[in-house]
């Protein structure tokens, strides 16, 4: 479905992706884990061509994508993306957000697009919010709308960039439930996440990234049970350490969140 080969990405002097190789087969779910700043988002954004890698190849359904010759807009239609901060269009209703691209890009008749959108909203449990504006929704609801918006283009693969990181803990479940539904329907997905339980449950493969490199790829049972690399083990023990807590095991006054690396102020 998607193959990434020897991908390198620099931001000025910063070498963010280093010879990244990855393959995702149709129907597979790949969870991408790793510390903050390890390049997970950048990898997703390169796959969706929101960023341009300096070298390396990206194949979609076996075809090498040429940035210059291929219509990237067409490709992006087939690759759905869900962002950490939702990025809903605030000036449009929930329904407006979902039908925008089908109507404006695919020229689907409004009536048909609306019917499809309502079915998608039904699926994410928000049919009753169709006429609301994003500002009237909770974070979990916003993220579910964002998922419906991406699905409306009938993508062949869905990319999730920390879809639950910005949510209050009690709202994480509703988004994960929707994502699990997609997994059951056989959607091909790459999910950057810190929800290790989710990864363990649904991932076909777990990819651990560190400092721009893919350190280890394996089945979740292996990664979470007996990872081959020391670095993977250290990362997971920090994240999963039940007593450590989010800011545990660190000198006081200078704590860094164990999940995403954010500082407490």
């Amino acid at each position: 479905m998607i193959k990434v080969s020897k991908l390198n990405k620099h931001f000025g002097p910063l070498h963010v992706l280093k010879d990244v190789d990855m393959e995702v087969k149709a129907g597979e779910v790949v969870c991408l884990i790793g510390a903050s700043g390890s390049g997970k988002s950048t990898l997703l954004r390169c796959i969706n061509f929101l960023e341009t890698a300096q070298s390396g190849e990206i194949y979609i359904e076996g075809r090498l994508i040429d940035r210059k010759k291929d219509d990237l807009n067409k490709i992006r239609q087939e690759v759905g993306m869900v962002f950490q901060l939702f990025n809903l269009f605030p000036h449009k209703t929930v329904l407006g957000n979902v039908i925008e691209a089908p109507v404006m890009v695919k020229k689907t008749p409004v009536k048909q697009a609306t019917e499809e959108a309502m079915a998608l909203l039904e699926k994410v449990g928000l049919a009753d919010k169709a006429r609301s504006y994003p500002s009237q929704l909770s974070g979990g609801q916003k993220q579910r709308v964002a998922i419906a918006r991406a699905l409306a283009m009938h993508p062949k693969i869905m990319l999730f960039d920390e879809p639950t990181s910005a949510l209050d803990p009690e709202l994480v479940g509703e988004v994960l439930t929707v994502m699990k539904k997609l997994v059951q329907e056989g959607m091909t997905m790459i999910v950057v996440t810190h929800e290790m339980a989710f990864a363990r449950e649904v991932a076909d493969w777990v990819v651990y990234m560190d400092e721009g490199r893919i350190v280890e790829v394996d089945r979740p049972s292996v990664i979470f049970g007996n990872p081959a690399h020391e670095r993977t083990r250290v990362f997971l023990s920090r994240v999963l350490e039940p007593n450590a807590g989010v800011f545990g095991n660190q000198p006081p006054g200078n704590e860094v969140c164990n999940l995403c690396g954010c500082k407490i102020s």
Binding site: H91, K92, T93, Y133
Partner: protein
């Protein structure tokens, strides 16, 4: 809820705008395409009694009516174009009008840029002072005397002969007011203008001495347009001959100012 209304509001705004701009526009902003060929001529519109607007915004004055009379003699439609004094030469060069009938004195400097008709009136600058002033003529002026003059006018050069302390004004009224208020010691301006304005404003000022020079006021025409120049000179002679000129002159200034 506004969100669906915003495009409508914008639409209304744009349509309204188009309506405002085109719908009721035109008439007083740009000259209508004339039925007859026109003779367009410019004056400041701020120089009574030569050119001014009355309370109903009608353009009147000696210059304006002379232009009308000349156009009639030439068989053309008169089209007076009031233009700020400083921009008069610009507009003539740019072809915004055919001539300047704007009480413009014929000078060497101006002759380099334009052709001038025969003088259509003669006047001259005089020295104006406050009634209680001890300046009784140009001989009483010293290097310390401040003279107020119209900016970009021939009076500027004249005033420099007596002092370097000049104050410049956009119109004679301001200059005369400065004189009356004691912020200038004297004003050099056209005697007709000075006298009519002083009377109008009720300023306690007087003219002293003789005409400082005899100015010949002509109609400026772009260089090389000899046909028009000749036609204007002919028409000028005609209106002087048939009494039209005298009537206009007496109507606005109360005397024959042709100086012939």
């Amino acid at each position: 809820m506004f969100k669906r209304k915003l495009p409508i509001m914008l639409f209304v705004l744009v349509v309204g705008m188009a309506f405002i701009v085109t719908g009721c526009g035109g008439a007083d902003t740009s000259p209508e395409p004339p039925a007859k060929a026109t003779f367009s001529y410019a004056m400041s519109g701020a120089y009574p009694p030569f050119s001014y607007f009355d309370d109903n915004d009608n353009l009147l004055g000696f210059d304006v009516e002379i232009g009308t009379a000349l156009a009639e003699k030439m068989g053309l439609e008169a089209d007076p174009v009031p233009t700020p004094w400083q921009a008069l030469p610009l507009g003539l060069n740019a072809g915004r009008y055919d001539a300047i009938i704007g009480s413009m004195t014929i000078t060497e400097a101006r002759l380099e840029k334009f052709d001038f008709s025969d003088p259509y009136y003669r006047s001259g600058p005089k020295l104006f002072v406050r009634a209680d002033s001890n300046i009784k003529g140009v001989d009483d002026l010293t290097a310390e005397s401040t003279i107020a003059v119209l900016m970009e006018s021939v009076y500027e050069e004249l005033a420099r002969e007596y002092t370097d302390k000049l104050k410049f004004y956009d119109n004679d009224v301001l200059a005369l007011r400065e004189l009356a208020a004691g912020r200038a010691d004297a004003v050099i301006t056209d005697q007709i203008v000075g006298l009519t304005n002083a009377k109008e404003l009720g300023l306690d000022i007087v003219s002293v001495g003789d005409l400082l020079m005899v100015e010949e006021i002509g109609i400026a025409i772009r260089k090389g347009e000899t046909d028009l120049l000749n036609a204007v000179n002919q028409a000028l002679a005609d209106i002087k001959a048939d009494g039209t000129y005298l009537a206009i002159s007496e109507k606005y200034v109360g005397a024959d100012i042709s100086g012939d």
